[in-house]
Symmetry: C2
Subunit: 578 residues, 2 copies
C-alpha cells in the first residue's frame, strides 16, 4: 500500500532518508521540503569553500560523479519530490497534516502525511550584543552566507577579520581566512581555552600555540561585548572586555542549537535544551513522526546520558536509519562516542569519548594516561611525535576517551576511529593494550601509540606509576616557591638538561642520565620530591620503577614529558619541539 | 622471593618481555640469550634500511631517544643480563636447565631457570633448488644479511635483481631495490597472484598493476627452478619454468616458519606445521615454559582456529603478556584478526580478518561488498578513490574481513584498524553501518567508506542488490560468446560510454544515463541480462532498485564499478583511472 512521507529539511539527514526510503519503498510518495533554495550540501565543507580550497559552492552540492544535487536531480534521478523555498509552519498531528508556506508566493497549504520526518537541523547562536546586525557580521548558517563571505573576500573587501568562537568551526574559519587569503585574523573565545568541552585544556593549549605560530591572534577567556559600527552601518571591529579589534568581517561561530520550534509547537517531547527526543528507532513521542540529524538529542555511549552531536556524518547515518524504520525495516541508532577530528593548518586534533575534565564532572573515578610516542616506526622517515591521551575509569578500567594532537595526516583518524569502535563496546584498558593495529613501519610503531597509552593507563591503575599532574607541574615551574620541596631530575642527555639547570638553578633542576641511573642513584636527593622528566615519559617511568624497588619512593613521573610541554607554548620552554 | 627467568631470543618478544618482567619484578634475575651479536632490532624495517630510507642499521636497533639497544644498554639501563652469540642447545625440563653454547669459545654450560620464555622467532624458508647456496643469494633472516645486501648495492655491484616471493616482504624488497637504487628488479611468485592468502585476487591484481607501472617486472604463477651460476660461484640469474632472469642479487622471500626445534626436542606441544602451542596466557604445554612471538601458533578471532601471525607488533604485545603472566599478573592474548598493511610505492594495501576466498574455504556463507568510494569528502582537494571491500557471512551477518587498496597515506590504516577492533568483538554488518568514524572533510566522507561498504553488504544480504561476480564479468568481456545473453548498460555520461560502445559494439555495450533512467527505461533490453555499470557501483544499485520496482528484474550490478576495473590492469580498459 502506497504511503506518503513528508520530510522537513533537505540538507543532510533529509536527503539521505528520502533517497533510502524511495529505494526501500519505490511506490511511496516521498516529499521533501526546505525553506532554502539550496539543498543537500556539505555544510562541513563551508570553511574549505571560503578558503578557496573548494573552488565553487556547487561542489558542496554535487555527487561524487559531479551532478549537482538540486530539486531536479532528486526528482529525475531519485524519484523524490522536492519543494524548496517552502517553510513548514505547523504540524497538525491529529489530522496528520503539515501547514506550509511557499516563500516565493506567500501562499499556504496543508499537506497530508502518513509519516513525517523532521530533519530541521540546527541554527547558529547569534550573540545578543549591540551591533550584531551590522553589515559584515555573519553566522555560518547556510550556503548563501558562505557565498557572500567569499564574494567579499575575493573582492578585496576584507583585510582584517574577527572570528568569535573557538570551537571547530571558528578555528576552521580562522584558518581559511589566514592561510589562503592572508587576512589578519583574530579568534576570540569566551572560555579560557579553545575547543571547550571537546578536549582537555592541555590539548587546547597545544592547538592554540600552533594557531599563533600560524599568525592567528588567539584571545581566550575574552568576551565580545559589542560590534563596532563604522558609522554607516558596516562593522568596523569587535569590542571585547579586554580590547578593541578592528575588522571588516566578523564571523560568529559560537555554537549551534537544535531547530525544534516546529516539534515543540506540535507538542512533541523535547529536551530542556531544545533537542527533539527520539527513541533508538529515531521515533519522536508521536509514533508517526520521526526525527534525525542536528535537531535531535542522542545518547552518549560513554555516559549513557543525553548528548548532542550535530555532525553531517551522524545526520546521514541517522537519516538512513529513520528511513529504514519508516519503511518497516527495524534498525537502531544506539548513540555516539562524540568522535571529532579537525585540521588546523599543519596539525590535526581529534578525540572520541569524553575528556578527563568531563569524566570527573560525570562522577567517574577518572584518570588519564598522557603519552607522546611516534606516529609510526621511529626510524621511518617523516615519523613525528603525536600527543595521545587515554582517559579511563580506575574502578571499572573502562576507557572513557582518547585525545590526540599531531601532524596533519590520517594517523590520528586511525587511532580515534579504532578507539571509538572499542569504546562503543565498553572496551577496557586491557582491550586497548591488545587492540590490533595494522603494523608496518610506514604506518605505525611496532608497539602502536594506542597500545602504548593503554600500557601507561594499566601501570597507573595498578599503582606502578605515580605521576605529577601536568598542571601542577606547570604551576610549580612558574612559581617554584609554591612547592619548595620539589626538584626536577632530568633523565635526558646532560646536554639537554644543561639550559634548564642554568635557568632554574641546580637546586631546582638536576641531571641524572637515565642509562646511568643504576650506578648513580645515590645522587638522587632523599629529602625532596623528585619530578622525573624526559622527552616522552617512558624513561621516567622506568627509572621510577627501579628507584621504588630500592626503596626510593620520593619520585613522580611527568607523563608525556617535554614533548607535551614543548607544544604548549609555555614561556620557559627553551628548545624546539622535543 | 627472587626467581630466575631465562629468555631465549632477543629480537622483539624477548626484549619486550625481559624489560617488562624486570619492571614488574625488579628483584628477579632476567637473563636473555641470543645466538646473534645484533639484538633487539626492528626486522620489519629491513626493507627501508636496504632502500636507504633508513640511513644506518643502528637506527633499527635504537630507542626513540637514540640509544642503541645492545647488550650494554639492556644491562645498564634495564637491569637485564644479556648473553649474545649464545646458542640454546637443549632444554632439560626436569632439571629446569637450558644447555647453551657460547659461539665465540665453543664452551657449553647448563643454566638453571625457574621460568623459561621461548622467543625463538621464525626463520625464512630456503628454496631447496640448485644454486640456492651461491654467493649473491640471500634470505632476509637477520640484520647481517641486510647489511651485506646494502653494502653490495652501495658498492655498485647490483644492477639487476630477482626477488622470489610475492608476499609483503618480497614486495617491500622489490620496491626498495627499484625505487631508490634504480635496480632492474623482477618479482617471481609461484601462485598465480601476489599476496596469496592475504587478499582476494582482484586486490592482488590492483597491486600488481601498480608495481608494473613502477617498473617492477612481476611474474606470477611462475616457479623458480634453479639459480644460474656465473661459473665462479656467484649467482648470475634465476631460471624459472618460463624464462631465465639475469641477476647479480637474488632475494628469497618465500615465507617464514616458526623456529621451534628447541621446543619440539624438549617434548613441548607443537602444531603440525611447527609452531609452538600456547594457551591464552602464552604458556606452553610445560607450565614453567612460556612462548611468544613468531615461534607460536595463535588463534584467529574470525575462524576461532589456529593461525600464524609472525609480525613484530604482535610479538611485542605477546612479549608483554608473557611477562605479566610469568610475573604473576594474569593477562591474556586472545588471538588475532591477522591485520596487515603495506606500502607499495605510491599505494597502500591493507586487510584485516579473512578474505572472501578464505571465507568460502572456511565454510562460511560468505559474500563480499566491493566498493570504490572517496577516501575523504569528494570535494576536498587531494581526495582519491579507495577500493574497499567487506567480506561477510550472509547467515550470521558477521563481518569476516576488510580489504582496501588506495593511495599511500594513513587513511587505510584508519579503516583497517577500526574494522579489526569491531571484528574482534564479532561485529555485524549493522555495527559497521553505524561505526562512528570521526568526520571532517579533510579526513573522511560524511558517509565514511566503511559505513558505505556496510550499506552495500546489508543491501546484498537483504536481497535488494543483485550483483555480477567481478571475475565472471571480466571473463565475459574477454570472451563475450561465453554469455551471449549479456549486455552492459553504461549509466555514466554518454561521452564516458562512447569508447566502449565503439570497441564492443552497441549489441554488447549501451548507454542509458543514470539520471534519465526514470524516463528512458523503455530502452532497456528485456530479453538480455543487463549488467549495470558506472564508476563506483552506487548509481548501478539505484537503477536496479528502480527497475525492479517496475518489474524489470533482468539486471545485475557491477559492484565497485569501473573504479575497480581501471586499477586491475585489464587490457580493454581504455581510460585513465576512473
Amino acid at each position: 500500500m502506497s504511503r506518503k512521507v513528508i520530510i522537513i529539511g533537505a540538507v543532510a539527514a533529509g536527503p539521505k532518508a528520502a533517497c533510502r526510503l524511495k529505494r526501500l519503498q519505490p511506490d511511496w510518495h516521498i516529499l521533501m521540503l526546505d525553506q532554502d533554495s539550496l539543498i543537500s550540501y556539505g555544510g562541513c565543507g563551508i570553511p574549505y569553500y571560503v578558503s578557496g580550497d573548494v573552488s565553487d559552492e556547487s561542489e558542496l552540492r554535487s555527487t561524487s560523479f559531479h551532478m549537482v544535487r538540486d530539486k531536479r536531480f532528486f526528482e529525475d534521478a531519485k524519484g523524490v519530490e522536492v519543494r524548496t523555498r517552502t517553510r513548514a509552519l505547523a504540524i497538525d498531528r491529529n489530522q496528520k497534516e503539515v501547514r506550509v508556506q511557499y516563500l516565493d508566493t506567500g501562499q499556504e497549504e496543508d499537506l497530508r502525511y502518513d509519516t513525517l520526518l523532521l530533519a530541521t537541523g540546527a541554527q547558529p547562536f547569534e550573540l545578543p550584543i549591540p551591533g550584531a546586525q551590522l553589515d559584515g557580521v555573519f553566522t555560518i548558517s547556510d550556503l548563501h552566507k558562505a557565498i557572500e563571505i567569499r564574494k567579499r573576500i575575493a573582492a578585496g573587501k576584507v583585510s582584517r577579520a574577527v572570528v568569535i568562537g573557538g570551537g571547530a568551526i571558528g578555528i576552521e574559519m580562522a584558518e581559511a581566512l589566514t592561510d589562503l587569503w592572508g587576512i589578519e585574523t583574530s579568534l576570540v573565545e569566551l572560555e579560557p581555552r579553545l575547543l571547550p568541552g571537546a578536549v582537555d585544556s592541555h590539548f587546547a593549549a597545544m592547538l592554540k600555540q600552533h594557531l599563533e605560530e600560524k599568525d592567528v591572534r588567539v584571545f581566550t577567556g575574552e568576551s565580545a561585548l559589542s560590534m563596532i559600527d563604522n558609522g554607516s552601518g558596516n562593522v568596523a571591529g569587535v569590542q571585547t572586555n579586554m580590547r578593541s579589534l578592528e575588522a571588516d568581517l566578523v564571523i560568529m561561530a559560537v555554537g549551534v542549537r537544535p531547530s525544534s520550534e516546529l516539534a515543540r509547537a506540535a507538542g512533541l517531547d523535547v529536551t530542556s535544551w531544545g533537542a527533539i527526543k527520539v527513541n533508538q528507532r529515531l521515533q519522536t513521542s508521536d509514533p508517526n513522526i520521526y526525527a534525525a540529524g542536528d535537531c535531535i538529542a542522542t545518547t552518549s555511549l560513554v555516559t549513557r546520558r543525553e548528548t548532542y552531536a550535530p555532525l553531517g556524518s551522524l545526520a546521514n547515518r541517522q537519516g538512513r536509519i529513520a528511513a529504514d524504520n519508516i519503511a518497516g525495516h527495524p534498525a537502531v541508532f544506539k548513540g555516539v562516542c562524540n568522535s571529532f577530528i579537525m585540521k588546523a593548518f599543519d596539525r590535526c586534533i581529534g578525540a572520541t569519548g569524553i575528556s578527563y575534565e568531563a569524566a570527573l564532572f560525570e562522577g567517574f573515578d577518572a584518570d588519564y594516561a598522557l603519552t607522546s610516542p611516534s606516529d609510526r616506526a621511529h626510524f621511518f622517515p617523516g615519523q613525528a611525535v603525536v600527543i595521545l591521551q587515554l582517559v579511563f575509569d580506575r574502578k571499572s578500567r573502562r576507557i572513557l576517551g582518547l585525545q590526540a594532537f599531531g601532524n596533519m595526516n590520517d594517523s590520528i583518524s586511525a587511532r580515534v576511529d579504532a578507539a571509538a569502535a572499542l569504546i562503543a563496546e565498553g572496551g577496557t584498558i586491557e582491550d586497548f593494550g591488545t587492540l590490533e593495529m595494522a603494523y608496518a613501519p610506514p604506518f605505525a610503531a611496532a608497539i602502536d601509540s594506542i597500545n602504548a597509552a593503554a600500557y601507561v593507563a594499566e601501570n597507573m591503575c595498578d599503582n606502578r606509576l605515580r605521576r605529577v599532574h601536568l598542571n601542577h607541574f606547570l604551576r610549580w615551574v612558574d612559581n617554584m616557591a609554591c612547592e619548595p620541596n620539589w626538584v626536577v631530575v632530568d633523565l635526558r642527555h646532560p646536554k639537554e638538561a644543561e639550559p634548564y639547570i642554568e635557568r632554574f638553578g641546580a637546586a631546582h633542576w638536576m641531571s641524572l642520565p637515565y642509562e646511568q641511573m643504576r650506578n648513580i642513584h645515590e645522587q638522587l636527593p632523599t629529602d625532596k620530591n623528585c619530578i622525573l622528566v624526559c622527552n616522552a615519559g617512558t624513561r621516567s617511568y622506568e627509572v621510577q620503577v627501579f628507584l621504588d624497588a630500592i626503596g626510593k619512593k620520593n619520585t613522580q613521573v611527568l607523563c608525556g614529558g617535554l614533548n607535551v610541554i614543548s607544544r604548549m607554548g609555555v614561556s620557559w620552554y627553551g628548545g624546539k619541539e622535543a
